[in-house]
Amino acid sequence: MQQTASSTPIVSLRDVQKSFGSLKVLDGVSFTVERGEVLAIIGRSGSGKSTALRCIDRFEKVDGGEITVCGRRVDLPDVDLRALRQDVGIVFQSYNLFPHLTIEQNITLAPCSVKRMDLSEAKALAHKVLAQVGLEEKIHAYPEQLSGGQQQRAAIARSLAMQPKVMLFDEVTSALDPELTGEVLKVIEQLAADGMTMVMVTHEMGFARSIADRIVFMHRGKVHETGPASILTAPTTPELVQFVGTGNLKS
């Protein structure tokens, strides 16, 4: 972060507003993510944390405010969505692997059709990213032959194959039991150690505390408290005290 180029945040939200009908989900949300940083967004269900994350990849259009991702103004209507999404990887709670394709085909599809990569090169890449998530032996399996944890790791590998500059994780372990959650978190931890920029919405407080550089606590559509992971152990606002006090802080 010594150079000026890397000191501009890779993701920045400024006063973002978003409503679904008469329901205000985001009410002036602002935060930034620096290159190489891991940001965890926490908060109750309905606090707007997933919506905030989805706005970064423009799966939701905002009503007001500014969002800049990798130097691109995402809030503007003429944003080049396909260029944006080559820079941003997103992993969903429900994995969303393509059921009719093998794991290898799931991974090679986007590099081949979006980046026009040769199939042989893409296959080598598939091997590499699957090794990263520890799933090499499942390369020719179909998604339904994998456990939930394996499917989520394959989905992470699929995202990695596009070599994104920032990765978004939308409650990626919420559909998994604790054992499977562990194997997915290990993969994310390794990515963090490799220096990947990540924004994750999570309910795993222990995990957020151990890998996040910064925490954003959202409450009723606003960023209520933000700071280093230590705010989870020493919260200053009564809402965060209550949130971490309700048994959410498990390790």
């Binding site: 799966f59 396909r82 969903f92 393509f98 009719h100 989905a155 596009m162």
Partner: protein
Amino acid sequence: MNIELDFPAVLERWPNFLGGAILTLELAFLATVSGALLGTLAAVGRGAHSRLITRICKVYVEAIRNTPLLVQIFLVYFGLASIGLKLSAFTVAVVALTINVGAYTAEIMRAGFEAIPRGQIEAAEGLALSRFQIYWHIILLPAVEKVYPALTSQFVLLMLASSVCSQISAEELTAVANYVQSDTYRAFETYIIVAVLYILLSLVMRAGFWGLGLVLFPRRRRLGTAL
């Protein structure tokens, strides 16, 4: 009651029956291929951004589903003739059957498209695939897979319905039956044979679709799940 059946007299005409059966199969094959294409395009068109395209597709589907096939065939037959296009009865039959089955296919495919979970499309969008790539790689085959039994029935039905093409003297199986029975005066025997032949043709088509399914859906083959 005394039914006298004389099959040999009718079976003597087996080359005619065979020719008719083959022509019926050709009609069904061509109309299935082009109807599947037309129907898929119309189903995609129903989801288009443009209101005009959506409306055209809807009018097409409704117009076809609410008129008799025979009337459609006559419309194509006399319509093309009146603008000076002289096409063979066979070509007219293929065109009319294509237009007809395309409309039903569009409705079936639309159901298939709607059955694709939203998350699949979001995942594909998140990987920067274009709209066309998403349709081609992510939506099309799983949609076809979901409605494959319905599509199979529809195309077999099309083959059976092609019998009305005898009305514009396309030399298909029913047309053959009509002149064999008027030659031999053995109407009942003739139509029994024709019915059996239609059953055989249906079985051939179903077997064809089963085989095609093995090629189109390798995951089913690998995992041993039936359609």
